[in-house]
């Protein structure tokens, strides 16, 4: 059974359909890349899947549940976590405080008004483990605003990871990164991909072809092709719409 199924999904902004009768499936365990030219509706699609925006039409199924109208926070509980293209962290908090918040969100009720949260060792320990996985341990007590761009991007992924998702929606994790930072992010995503299903929106084609087991191409809000990387590379419509008409790309 597919982990994520999107059927005839449409999101209209006034007269413009940013996502237009879009169909997409993501299988459990795969790293699935979503590519497409600027303005193709990739981020809108992520916003629809994560529940930031309601769709105009269509349905979304995740892990057997119809989540089309499920509130955002409940989708996270079901195991669907996302990151943002534009870094979206608790800027005045330290790395560990950020991660602890995410760990706390999934470990028991937070409608507890009396016991000091700082005494909850479990939260701290889990946050430390995630920081280690991210390679941010040295920065544990650094305020997010003081981190480098690359480190902030790592933490962006870390916060989603701390939700212990079944599926990660990564919206351009490499945005604004230099080659070295990108390399580290590719490594991290490859490592995560072994245990979590990933839907990856990314412009960096090298990264996409290194990471993805399947690629879907979004153009004008519709998936025009979906398949393994070799197939997508060779697909004529994809070339026209996105990769350019250079047939040499086939052998790259």
């Amino acid at each position: 059974m597919s982990l994520l199924v999107i059927e005839h999904l449409t999101r209209q902004f006034g007269g413009l359909a940013a996502v237009n009768d879009c169909n997409l499936t993501v299988e459990p365990g795969e790293v699935h890349a979503l590519i497409g030219p600027n303005g193709a509706g990739k981020t809108t699609l992520i916003n629809l899947i994560s529940g930031v925006l309601p769709p105009t039409k269509g349905r979304i199924y995740f892990d057997g549940h119809d989540i089309t109208h499920t509130p955002q926070h409940q989708r996270v509980r079901l195991g669907l976590a996302r990151t943002f293209q534009i870094t979206n962290l608790f800027k005045r908090y330290t790395v560990l405080e950020n991660l602890e918040l995410a760990v706390q969100a999934r470990s028991g009720s937070s409608f507890r008004f009396w016991s000091p949260v700082k005494r909850e060792k479990g939260l701290r320990e889990e946050a430390e483990q995630i920081a280690e996985l991210l390679g941010l341990t040295a920065r544990n007590h650094t305020e997010v605003a003081q981190l480098s761009h690359g480190e902030q991007r790592q933490l962006e992924v870390g916060l989603a990871l701390a939700c212990q998702p079944k599926m990660l929606l990564l919206d351009e994790p490499m945005a604004g990164m230099g080659p070295e930072e990108s390399g580290r992010m590719v490594e991290l995503i490859a490592k995560l991909g072994q245990s979590v299903t990933i839907l990856l929106v990314e412009h960096d084609m090298d990264a996409v072809f290194r990471l993805a087991r399947r690629i879907s191409v979004l153009v004008y809000g519709q998936v025009i092709a979906s398949g393994p990387p070799e197939e997508i590379r060779a697909h004529p419509d994809v070339h026209k719409a996105y990769l350019g008409d250079d047939p040499g790309g086939k052998h790259a």
Partner: protein, 307 residues
């Protein structure tokens, strides 16, 4: 244990011995002033919970304060004399009102939130003023209730208020450092991310809104006991502004912000009122200076920055 923990204890000690000293030196008047300060400290601290810790700029906090006072006065007028009835009823009513108003207002953000909280508070004001049998614009006189255990004199009211304020501040201290408090502040810092990691933002904000409403209602009850009167002024938008000024003056999102702000503003007003009829100009200037030179309020001058 907070770093500066001895200071509140010393303050509590001073407040405990204040009334006998004041009356021995013929300054009974100040016992009343301190009672009033403590009542406003409670109301301002409740506003600080949502304004400072929750980032919800409610411009209608007078509604809960005033409804608490009116509930106490109306019950007294209707022949209910037991505080054991009056207090819970008033608090439940204020909480219920906060729930209804919050449930609607919290669907808006920014300037709209400010305006709609103000609009609701004004509706409550005009509603209450329209009840001629409860005094209308003249307000309503209210005998002090019966506690059973003790007579509610000026002095016992002072100690009662002190006890309530101490208990509430302790509870608020626990709350802002609890799981709930941490989430509330995280929502203030970055609402979108808080939702993204799985917090039902609306529920947390509404819960805080109701807690603040209940505590403001409690302050209102004490105010009605203090003046033995429920005045429409308690419900007016100026009162909301007054409470907001206290929080800003004392320190938005600083634990002692409400207390310090209420004490400073009321003392300054008291002094300036004696000196000049243009006292409001002086109050305005002081607020201006604080905003310009101490953006984290008076509390921010002492402690670490708010988190």
């Amino acid at each position: 244990m907070p770093r500066n923990w001895p200071i509140p204890l010393v303050l509590l000690g001073l407040l405990l011995v204040f009334p006998p000293i004041a009356s021995a030196t013929g300054l009974e008047f100040y016992t009343g002033l301190v009672t009033k300060i403590m009542i406003f400290a409670l109301a301002a601290s409740s506003l600080n919970l949502i304004l400072g810790y929750g980032g919800m700029v409610s411009f209608g906090h007078a509604a809960y304060f005033g409804v608490g006072a009116y509930a106490a006065a109306i019950l007294a007028r209707e022949g209910v004399s037991s505080a054991w009835v009056i207090w819970p009823v008033a608090m439940v009513l204020s909480g219920l009102l906060a729930f209804l108003i919050g449930a609607i207002c919290l669907r808006t953000r920014g300037v709209y939130f400010i305006m709609i909280t103000l609009a609701f508070a004004q509706m409550i004001y005009f509603l209450v003023v329209s009840f001629k049998q409860y005094g209308g614009e003249d307000g309503l006189r209210a005998r002090r209730p019966d506690f059973g255990l003790f007579e509610l004199s000026d002095t016992t009211l002072y100690y009662l208020t002190l006890a309530v304020l101490t208990a509430v501040l302790y509870a608020l201290y626990r709350l802002v450092n609890s799981r709930f408090g941490r989430v509330l502040q995280a929502i203030r810092e970055n609402e979108s991310r808080a939702a993204t990691i799985g917090y039902p933002v609306y529920q947390f904000q509404l819960a805080a809104f109701v807690i603040a409403g209940v505590l403001a209602g409690l302050a209102g009850v004490l105010m009605a006991h203090y003046t033995q009167y429920a005045s429409p002024n308690l419900l007016a938008w100026q009162q909301s502004g007054h409470l907001m000024m206290m929080v800003i003056l004392g320190g938005v999102g600083q634990f002692w912000g409400g207390v310090l702000g209420a004490a400073t503003l009321l003392i300054v007003e008291e002094i300036l009122q004696d000196l000049t009829i243009y006292w409001q100009l002086g109050v305005g200037l002081i607020l201006l200076l604080i905003v310009l030179f101490a953006p984290m309020g008076i509390a921010g001058l002492f402690g670490r920055r708010a988190r």
